[in-house]
């Protein structure tokens, strides 16, 4: 272990003096360590996550054996917590691909140390999200009817429905994300194979690295494939959540029928995604002692993106309210009034503003952006805020739509919450398995970075010079 936790904080994208060997040691040793040397915190976290995963399974059994009625959904609120949670998870699953693909294409070197686990987070979030629409069906066992497949009944899905677009959007996003993640893992698998300490590891990583031989040709092919996939993923980042947004924008429910939704949902997704990246990265770098690889610079950049996307989201809220009023349509004006001031749910809206609008304002300050604890707390608040945003959009809009006679309230049940907590369990079980079995940081890319840093100096040196010039404390 090259770095001890709590030591040597830097705001470079990689701490000075890191070598290929030190990076491999830092990242791969915990993976290759024998089961008995697994850290205690991992066992504790994994056990808690497993407990919640069991809750998830129980909730699913109860749901399927009893029916959708175990939840609080009703008429008019046909979609309640399950869809809120679905959109919430999909949003979280956004930052991964954004970091991997878009930042790669824009040549942002700071992405390197966080892209691997951000991608993993994306995939696990998509798994959690993707199960929700299926479980949400009245008859989950026929979910495949949404897919176009040849059948003797001559039936096809109805392609005008945004729900069908969802199916394709999520399936495409999920499969491309898995592919991208796996390709990125190949060189690291080879390193793991070479450093493997047991036969099991040799076979496992030897198989997964697909015969990587570290030749120049392999590297050339690999980087070309990686770049191509990145280019392919780029539009997906924008399309997935736009499609989810269309679930609402296409409907005519006041509060759903908004053309601003696709871009605003994408911004919200990136916002939520970076919050989740921080929620995962801050404990991870401390737990595995990776402060030299996931540096304050990373936290700072993630926080900046959070701030930027958060402001876009806030703009979305303002535009929505303005449009509701400006439309002059009774249903829209009433809906926006009800969302903001209505007796039943005003608290949700204002709490949402507090979480997503007010809580991110400290991020204007570098000191906050580089304070892991403050960032962790803000990221948690943002995650709650983004959940509330979906609650406000889905539930509050549906409770009071067109005919006064059909207005009704929505009350979630214990099974709504158990499925949600359970899906968190599923996510964290997968995540704990990931950080134990696979390198959470892309070592091959980090080594490239370290190599570049050693031979050519870093852009980050400029920052140090700047700080000295302004008389600031270096590394603050």
């Amino acid at each position: 272990m090259a770095v001890v936790s709590g030591k040597a904080e830097t705001h470079r994208v990689i701490a000075p003096g890191e070598t290929a060997g030190s990076i491999d040691d830092a990242v791969l040793n915990p993976v290759l360590a024998g089961p008995l040397r697994t850290p205690t915190w991992w066992w504790i976290g994994f056990s808690i996550a497993m407990a919640f995963l069991s809750l998830y399974l129980v909730s699913i059994v109860v749901l399927i054996s009893t029916g959708t009625g175990v939840w609080g959904n009703n008429v008019p609120v046909g979609w309640g917590m399950p869809i809120i949670n679905f959109v919430w998870w999909i949003g979280i699953g956004h930052a991964g691909t954004l970091i991997s693909a878009i930042l790669l294409l824009f040549r942002q070197p700071w992405r390197t140390s966080i892209n691997r686990f951000a991608e993993a987070m994306t995939i696990f979030a998509v798994v959690c999200a993707g199960l929700y629409p299926i479980l949400h069906l009245g008859r989950p066992w026929v979910f495949y009817w949404l897919a176009p497949y040849p059948n003797t009944m001559g039936l096809f899905p109805q392609f005008r429905s945004p729900l069908d677009w969802d199916l394709f959007a999520i399936a495409t996003y999920g499969s491309v994300s898995v592919l991208f993640w796996f390709i990125g893992l190949i060189p690291d698998m080879a390193t793991l194979r070479d450093r493997a300490r047991s036969r099991f590891q040799k076979i496992l990583y030897g198989t997964l690295c697909l015969g990587w031989n570290n030749s120049a040709r392999a590297w050339q092919r690999y980087q070309r494939a990686y770049l191509l996939l990145a280019a392919l993923s780029f539009p997906l980042v924008l399309s997935v959540h736009s499609t989810i947004a269309l679930d609402f924008a296409v409907a005519q429910v006041p509060g759903w029928n908004n053309t601003v939704y696709p871009p605003y949902f994408v911004a919200g997704a990136v916002f939520a995604g970076f919050a989740m990246v921080l929620i995962l990265a801050i404990p991870l770098r401390r737990g595995f002692g990776l402060q030299k690889l996931i540096t304050r610079r990373h936290l700072d950049n993630a926080a900046k993106l959070m701030l930027a996307t958060g402001l876009i989201v806030l703009y979305g809220y303002v535009v929505e309210a303005f449009m509701g009023w400006y439309s002059g349509v009774e249903f829209e004006t009433y809906f926006i009034f009800n969302r903001i001031f209505g007796a039943d749910h005003w608290w949700a809206f204002w709490l949402l503003i507090a979480c997503n609008g007010v809580a991110i304002q400290p991020l204007w300050f570098r000191r906050v952006r580089q304070n892991p604890l403050a960032l962790f707390v803000i990221a948690l608040i943002v995650s709650v805020g983004m959940w509330l945003e979906r609650f406000v959009i889905i539930v509050v809009s549906l409770t009071k739509d067109f005919l006064l006679s059909s207005w009704d309230d929505y009350v979630s049940t214990v099974w709504d919450w158990s499925l949600y907590l359970g899906s968190l369990g599923l996510f964290f079980v997968l995540f704990f398995l990931f950080i134990r079995l696979l390198p959470a940081i892309a070592t091959s890319e980090m080594k490239e970075l370290a190599h570049h840093d050693t031979l050519h100096g870093s852009d980050d040196d400029f920052e140090e010079i700047r700080q000295r010039y302004h008389g600031e404390e270096v590394g603050s």
Binding site: T68, G138, W145, L155
Partner: protein, 993 residues
């Protein structure tokens, strides 16, 4: 013990048992010594373990052997009863499998007949439709009639003769009763208690009984009986006279707290006649005018042009004031709060201007004095013989039921009752609290209860026997105008019940069947060929020329008292759904939302907003009410438009022995009710601790603010319509734009459409109940209603407008609007809801995966989702599923459903017309809601046919579609509600509060 049991003998032994028995009884079989010997001899190693302990491997081996032996057992021929079944080689006449047959019979309400046509599928009645030839139905049905099919199949109905809880046979009962009655001296000590009897056959049997046992006494008790109408007629005319009202002749109507379209004899006819003078299509159409004073909003009152909430005492005072104004000798009374002289003068002027075409009607629950005054007013207005017809009583013996029951209880307490035979009814539950009928009943040594359920009376009587349902037995009954129906059974008694006729025959020392009893009664009364008469009459559902003979009674002077106003007056009413409690175990009725309150599954203490404010209570708070030394705790519901200082309590709840559905719901309002003041009494109210959760199907919103700006309900006065006959502003408040990106789809065959006339819709729920019966709509229970999951395909939305103490009421039946550009269709990912070539928005249950997106996107929120397995399916199904309509799919969990415009009826008409090589005629397809509607507020038909009634109706200038700005182009449109207020009272009357 057989020493040598051979395989053959064992096989024989096994063959006596069925396979299932065998598995259970192997041990038993193995335990026999003979079997052990046999095993020892043939399979020595296997036999050993049977004596010792069991080992896992041995158990497994034995299981295998058991399976093999079970197979052997199956080789034996099962012992089945040898019965022959006979296929329809020669099918019964008229019977076409898959096609229902309709039989005329009658549904009884308070003893009065309402003619129905019962739909029978292969001998299984599934639905009741009104009999258009019957004067008390004219084709319409009441919600309670619709639900009666469910009661027929109620598995909680009583099915055995019981003596103190012990099962007995009908023969044991008849032997005992005959002996007991024969032992009485001239029948002294024999008492017969029935409900209202209009049946000529039963009346004849009772008079025979009284002739045979001169000392026997016949009592009648039915909570719903119009005691005060009887007393009022006696007061006004000195004898028993019945009244029929002809609303089709009346232009100005004064209703003194009479919910004449919803309750009481003749209600369906009243509704139909009343609506016939009120239908407005063009500005040239005339309208009648209804002045209604009433304690709380009723369905009839919601249509009134002038409606004033009055306390019970206020109604009497107003009746006296109006009577005096019309020249009737009545005491002078101060005008009640809420009525001013201007209003009274305008009313008097209006009535006087319509001599002979006005009508004054007193409510069922009003005291005799108001009935007498109404008679006098009608006389003074020259209405008798025109809008009001007097005739001989229809009831076998009109009397004061309250007094009759009190006499009986008195006699029982005195010990002078030896044998009490109760036929129908549930007096232990429904008797006024001060009569203490249950306690009196305990002192009778032999009490026999013939009832539908083992209810409060059945369990407290010494003997109980099951009573047949109306659809299970022969009988006859008369309607409010006297027309007699011979009621035919649609099905053999499901639970082995007996009819009232059969029990009376036993008392008469006879064991004739119901069929013979009814036939023999009529045989003596028919001239000419009896079989011909019988066939025609039973077929038609009415006995020709059986109307009650007219009477021309003369008024006699009478004196009345005007009651004092009290601080808080309790007003008792039969529950609009479950009546006096007799329908408590009917799930359809429990879940039928009460008019205006939209409450299900409970009764409440209804308070006016002002009274609730004074008492400091709100909805779902508990209130302790006490009267006559008794008290009950009731949840509060605030009802706009109710008279200040009143608390309305619905009877019928608080049952303890209703059945699995109806027991333990609500509170028992009978506890406050005394025989002397059956419908209204002074009470004291005290807020109690705690709250009680109620299940209503609609949250309540007044039509102001956003409600008004949505233009959901549109209404205006006839004068406003006349001022703008082409396009009245009230019906079209916003400029409409035709804007479609794509050309409209052209419907080349039929295009089904519907119009709902809000001017005549009373909100009586008949359509809701009819739809439930027609379309196999399940009930969901109180908890599910509370969280907004009721399944009714059609609902009646209630809206209020104006002053909270006296608002205007609107009822808007809301079902799937069958939008031409339906928002539900494009959002379904599997195409489970699609448009058909006739413009129906069809729902494909089998394809539905249950995303509920369609429901979210439906602006009318008329789609219903099976959140749980609500319908009875598979092995969980009870007898109730027999009431299902075989033409309609029973939906399973997880699928969406909604109104189909009764597509099964359209399909039936299409098949018939295709077979006959013609197109479907206008009026050939009648939806279930339309058929039931007593006011013909629903019109359905082909809008591609320019001559159809529905197309003609849609050309009306007051025709509009709800939420038309969304451009969903609904096929269902509404006619704006038109009222006809007195021009002298156009400024709304303020209520003093």
């Amino acid at each position: 013990m057989n020493e040598k049991l051979s395989i053959k003998e064992i096989r024989e032994r096994l063959s006596d048992k069925t396979g299932r028995d065998y598995w259970r009884s192997l041990d038993e079989l193995a335990e026999t010594e003979a079997f052990r010997d046999f095993m020892d001899k043939e399979f020595p190693r296997q036999a050993a373990p049977l004596e010792g302990s069991w080992h896992r491997r041995d158990v497994l081996k034995l299981l295998g052997a058991s399976l093999a032996l079970a197979g052997l057992g199956a080789c034996a021929r099962p012992v089945l009863p040898h019965e022959k079944i006979v296929p329809y080689v020669q099918a019964p006449e008229e019977m076409i499998p898959g096609r229902p047959l309709f039989f005329a019979t009658a549904a009884l309400h308070g003893g009065y007949a309402e003619g129905v046509l019962a739909e029978s599928h292969q001998g299984r009645p599934t639905k009741l439709e009104g009999n258009p030839d019957h004067p008390a139905s004219l084709g319409a049905t009441h919600a309670l009639t619709q639900a009666s099919v469910l009661s027929l199949y109620d598995p909680d109905r009583s099915d055995t003769v019981l003596e103190g809880g012990q099962v007995r046979s009908w023969e044991q009962l008849t032997a005992l009763v005959s002996a007991a009655v024969e032992n009485l001296d001239q029948g002294r000590g024999l008492r017969l208690l029935t409900e209202t009897v209009t049946s000529p056959t039963l009346a004849r049997q009772i008079s025979d009984l009284l002739a045979r046992f001169p000392e026997a006494v016949w009592h009648q008790y039915d909570t719903s009986h119009g005691d005060s109408a009887v007393a009022g007629a006696r007061m006004a005319f000195g004898r028993d006279i019945a009244t029929s009202y002809h609303f089709d002749q009346a232009d100005v109507i004064l209703s003194l707290d009479a919910d004449f379209t919803y309750s009481g004899p003749g209600r369906l006819r009243h509704a139909k006649d009343f609506a016939s003078r009120r239908r407005v299509r063009t500005a040239d159409d005339g309208m009648n005018r209804l002045y209604q004073v009433e304690t709380f909003p009723t369905t009839t009152g919601s249509l009134a042009d002038h409606r004033i909430p009055l306390t019970p005492a206020g109604v009497v005072a107003l009746a006296a004031a109006v009577a005096q104004g019309l020249g009737v000798d009545a005491p002078t009374a101060a005008l009640p709060a809420g009525i001013d002289q201007v209003w009274l003068d305008a009313l008097l002027e209006d009535l006087n201007a319509h001599q002979g075409s006005s009508l004054v009607i007193a409510g069922h629950e009003q005291p005799a004095a108001v009935h007498a005054l109404a008679h006098a007013m009608n006389e003074a207005l020259g209405n008798v013989g025109r809008t009001v017809r007097y005739h001989q009583p229809v009831e076998a013996r009109p009397e004061d039921h309250g007094a009759s029951l009190r006499d009986l209880a008195q006699a029982m307490n005195d010990g002078s009752v030896e044998v009490l035979v109760t036929i129908g009814g549930n007096p232990v539950f429904t008797a006024p609290a001060d009569v203490a009928f249950g306690a009196a009943l305990d002192s009778v040594s032999l009490s026999v209860h013939l009832g539908h359920y083992l209810d409060e009376t059945g369990t407290r009587s010494s003997w109980h026997a099951p009573l047949v349902h109306e659809l299970e037995a022969w009988s006859d009954a008369r309607s409010s105008d006297g027309t007699t129906t011979i009621m035919q059974p649609l099905i053999a008694p499901l639970f082995g019940g007996r009819s009232a006729h059969e029990l009376l025959a036993v008392l008469l020392g006879d064991d004739a069947s119901g069929y013979d009893i009814v036939r023999s009664y009529w045989r003596g009364r028919v001239e000419g060929d009896f079989d011909d008469f019988w066939r025609r009459t039973v077929y038609r559902g009415t006995v020709a020329g059986s109307e009650a003979a007219g009477e021309e009674p003369s008024l006699q002077p009478f004196a009345i008292d005007i009651p004092e106003e009290t601080d808080l007056q309790a007003v008792f009413r039969l529950d609009p759904s479950i009546g006096d409690g007799r329908h408590a175990n009917n799930g359809w009725l429990q879940e039928l939302p009460n008019p205006f309150t939209k409450l299900t599954w409970d009764n409440v203490a209804l308070l006016s907003p002002t009274t609730a404010e004074q008492l400091g209570v709100a909805n779902e708070d508990l209130l302790t009410l006490s009267a006559g030394g008794r008290d009950v705790e009731a949840p509060v519901w605030v009802q706009p438009g109710q008279a200040v200082g009143t608390v309305v309590l619905n009877l019928g709840y608080g049952r303890t022995h209703a059945g699995r559905i109806g027991s333990g719901l609500g509170f028992d309002a009978y506890a406050l009710r005394s025989g002397g003041e059956p419908w209204s009494t002074a009470v004291a109210a005290q807020p109690a601790r705690g709250r009680f959760k109620l299940a209503d199907t609609q949250t309540h919103h007044a039509l102001d603010g956003t409600g008004e700006r949505r233009h959901i309900v549109r209404s205006g006065s006839l004068v406003a319509f006349q001022n703008e006959p082409a396009k009245p502003h009230f019906a079209h408040p916003v400029e409409e734009h035709e804007s479609n990106l794509y050309p409209d789809y052209v419907y080349e065959s039929y295009a089904w459409g519907k119009v709902i006339d809000m001017t005549v819709c009373t909100g009586c729920n008949a359509c809701v109940a009819a739809c439930q019966a027609e379309n196999n709509i399940p009930i969901v229970g109180k908890d599910q209603v509370r969280i907004g999951r009721e399944m009714h395909w059609i609902r009646v939305d209630s809206y209020y407008k104006g002053d909270i103490d006296n608002p205007e009421f609107f009822s808007m039946p809301m079902a799937c609007q069958q939008c031409e550009q339906a928002p539900c269709e494009p959002v379904c990912p599997v195409g489970a809801t699609v448009h058909d070539h006739e413009g129906l928005n069809a729902m494909v249950y089998n394809r539905c995966v249950g995303t509920r997106y369609c429901s979210n996107n439906c602006p009318y929120k008329v789609r219903r989702f099976n959140f749980l397995q609500y319908a009875e399916l598979g092995t969980n199904a009870t007898e109730l599923s027999l009431a299902n309509n075989p033409d309609v799919t029973v939906r399973s969990r997880g699928v969406m459903e909604k109104c189909t415009y009764c597509t099964q009826r359209i399909a039936q008409a299409r098949i018939t017309s295709n077979n006959e090589g013609r197109t479907i005629r206008d009026g050939e397809v009648v939806t279930a809601c339309q058929a039931a509607c007593p006011t013909d507020a629903i019109v359905f038909g082909d809008i591609n046919d320019p001559n159809s009634v529905v197309t003609q109706t849609k050309t009306s200038a007051i025709n509009y579609t709800v939420l038309d700005e969304l451009n969903t182009v609904p096929r269902t449109s509404y006619l704006a509600k038109v009222t006809n207020p007195n021009p002298r009272l156009v400024a709304p009357v303020e209520v003093d509060s």
